[in-house]
Amino acid sequence: MNYFSKFLGAASAVALSCAAVAAQAETLFWSTQAKPVEEAQAMREQVLSGFGGGVDYQPNDGGPWLTRLQAELQAGSGSIGVLGALHGDFSAMDPADLVDLSDLGVASASDTFNGLAKLGTDSLQYIPWMQASYIMAANKEALQYLPEGADINSLTYDQLIAWAANAHEAAGEPKFGFPAGPKGLKHRFFQGYLYPSYTDGVVRTFASPEAVTAWTKFKELWSHTNPSSTNFSFMQEQLLSGDAWIVFDHTSRLAQAFNERPDDFVAFPAPAGPTGRGFMPVLAGVAIPKTSPDMDAAKELVAYMLKPETQIATLRATNFFPVVDVALPDDLPPSVKAAGDAVAKMSGSADANPGLLPAGLGDKGGDFNRVFVDTFERIVLANQPIEQVLEDQKGRLAAIMQETGAPCWAPDAPSEGACPVE
């Protein structure tokens, strides 16, 4: 009985305290970026603390992020002030739900990025916020096994495979690491690196003879890849633990390795194939949903994010690079120096062949990625014949392109209407 009266007491205390819910005054920054706890903390303390109006920075998984946003849009009122997300997240939305930002007077220094940010309309629907890319990194111990005559800053895929094979032999176990885990970004490697490097396309050339070569080469590389790679999602962990010596991943997913043991690792550009050095720039943006409670504060915050000082603070906090022209200071963390250097070499190389983020796919972006992940799983993990898998998956890819009507993006040649799978 006593127990029950305690229960009742607790219940009434609870009811009282939830009546005292404080009203919010800070602008809510609802983001899918800078999610790891250390980055979120740095965003709050180093980046957003300088904003006068006060910001509540809340990073989320994609699912809750989108569900909450949709709920506020449907309800017609909400608490989200500013959105932060990847280009792909915004392109999946209806541009009408975002406030037109062209009159804000801020934009990135890159016309390509500004073009993407229009989401197919005539005005900026989000403002490019920060950028990153995917690079390679290696334990310095592995450098001695580089094949003869290979320059680490201008490797080819063949040299990379030979290197991984040498390291495999020397260590007695496969030492190449690939983020093929559930949260790994493997699909970006195929879309932005392997395909552009071998076929000079992604969609048009999906099932071409060159694509067959590309997958054959990748299978060769996989034979020297740590088989636990299907559990790896953040290659910095495997670099630090020594499970992998040579890895591919997103710059911010390698940062911890460089920051903790800067002298042990090197960052270098992705390898080149027959049709150039494919690489994919990653773009994040900030936008304002039309239900934003305090439009002025939200616009101020968006403008604040684009200031050069903020951009440098963001770089330190998240390892994402500025999108406006800024002079980078000298005292940046090791990871930023290493990654910045590798990205610069990669995009500046004579044979650079940038593969842009998929655009115009709307909410089919996930299905598009799925095609590449399935292809990988069937060809590489299940060992099914390459031609047949590509032929199967080609139909799915073509259906997605037809349904969305998305035109080709680089490096595919431009198309009239939906990008065809040839």
Binding site: M1, Y3, F4, F7, L8, A10, A11, V14, A15, S17, C18, V21, A22, Q24, L28, K35, P36, V37, E38, A40, Q41, R44, D56, Q58, P59, N60, D61, G63, P64, T67, R68, Q70, A71, E72, Q74, A75, S77, G78, S79, K183, F234, Q236, E237, L240, S241, Q256, E260
Partner: protein, 277 residues
């Protein structure tokens, strides 16, 4: 005869060994992961990434200190406890009478009701969260501890009903009838005779409700913003965090739930006494 007397202690000793081994194995099953969580929490990042792991923690509090300075941890912890507490109370207040009615009265559609009550668990939360959030925003329940507790109660009620139903069914109707003949009303017979007998069982379903609420992420992440629960606050961000912070965050999430279960364990263990009768 003599053969039997010499053999009996042997068999008993073997039985005891097997019993002890089983006990050790079961304890290890639970304790070893917790112990590893503990030592990795109290290790420096270097040690966490190295192999083999040490068996003695080095008491490096760096990872925990990081969370101590993490904005909003305490209020998130408070919210988690509030939501879990309210869920516990509400699911018992709603579930126990339903369980009592199911076990004591015959009414049309009883079997269907028992099945239907499980249906709240049949729909995945990500599917329900969107319409729920829209409704909550419109009614003003959005971003309140009470609103989230309502959702968690919906998730916990089926278990509360089914657990209390089987508990009430285990208590003979004759006990209540005897109380009535001795001057009890239906209510006092319940509070003086039945309730003390099933209190441990109620505790068990309360713990269940507490844990369901404590572990739920999706609804919490969508339905609360300022008043986040600890799980919504930390769990989403932990999966992309470095290993040593994952361990420390996991430790922080596990400890309050463990403390709670320890605090109510005596009520819980008594339940098996009832079940054995």
């Amino acid at each position: 005869m003599t053969a039997v007397t010499t053999q009996a202690p042997d068999t008993r000793r073997a039985g005891r060994t097997v019993y002890a081994a089983a006990v050790v194995l079961l304890c290890a099953w639970v304790l070893v992961p917790l112990y590893f969580l503990f030592i990795n929490t109290l290790s420096s990042p270097d040690t966490v990434n190295s192999f083999p792991k040490p068996f003695v923690p080095e008491f490096d509090t760096g990872s925990l200190a990081f969370f101590a300075g993490f904005a909003g941890m305490l209020s998130a912890l408070k919210n988690s406890i509030l939501v879990a507490g309210m869920t516990m109370v509400m699911s018992i207040l709603i579930g126990a009478p339903a369980g009592y009615a199911l076990s004591r009265f015959d009414f049309r559609g009883k079997e269907v009701f028992r099945l239907l009550i499980l249906l709240t668990r049949a729909f995945p939360l990500p599917l329900l969260a969107l319409p729920l959030a829209v409704m909550f925003i419109r009614t003003g329940l959005d971003d309140t501890v009470f609103g989230l507790a309502l959702v968690h109660t919906t998730l916990a009620v089926p278990f509360a009903v089914l657990i209390t139903f089987s508990l009430f069914s285990g208590i003979p109707m004759e006990l209540e009838e005897a109380a009535w003949t001795l001057g009890c009303t239906r209510l006092t017979a319940f509070t003086k005779v039945v309730l003390p007998l099933i209190l441990p069982g109620i505790t068990a379903s309360a713990i269940f409700a507490f844990v369901i609420s404590w572990n739920e992420v999706f609804a919490a992440a969508v339905l609360t913003i300022e008043n986040r629960t600890l799980t919504a606050f930390l769990l989403q961000n932990l999966d992309t965090s470095p290993l040593h912070l994952k361990f420390a965050g996991g430790f922080i999430l596990v400890v309050p739930a463990l403390i709670f279960i320890f605090a109510v364990r005596k009520y819980l263990f008594a339940m098996w006494g009832i079940a054995n009768r």
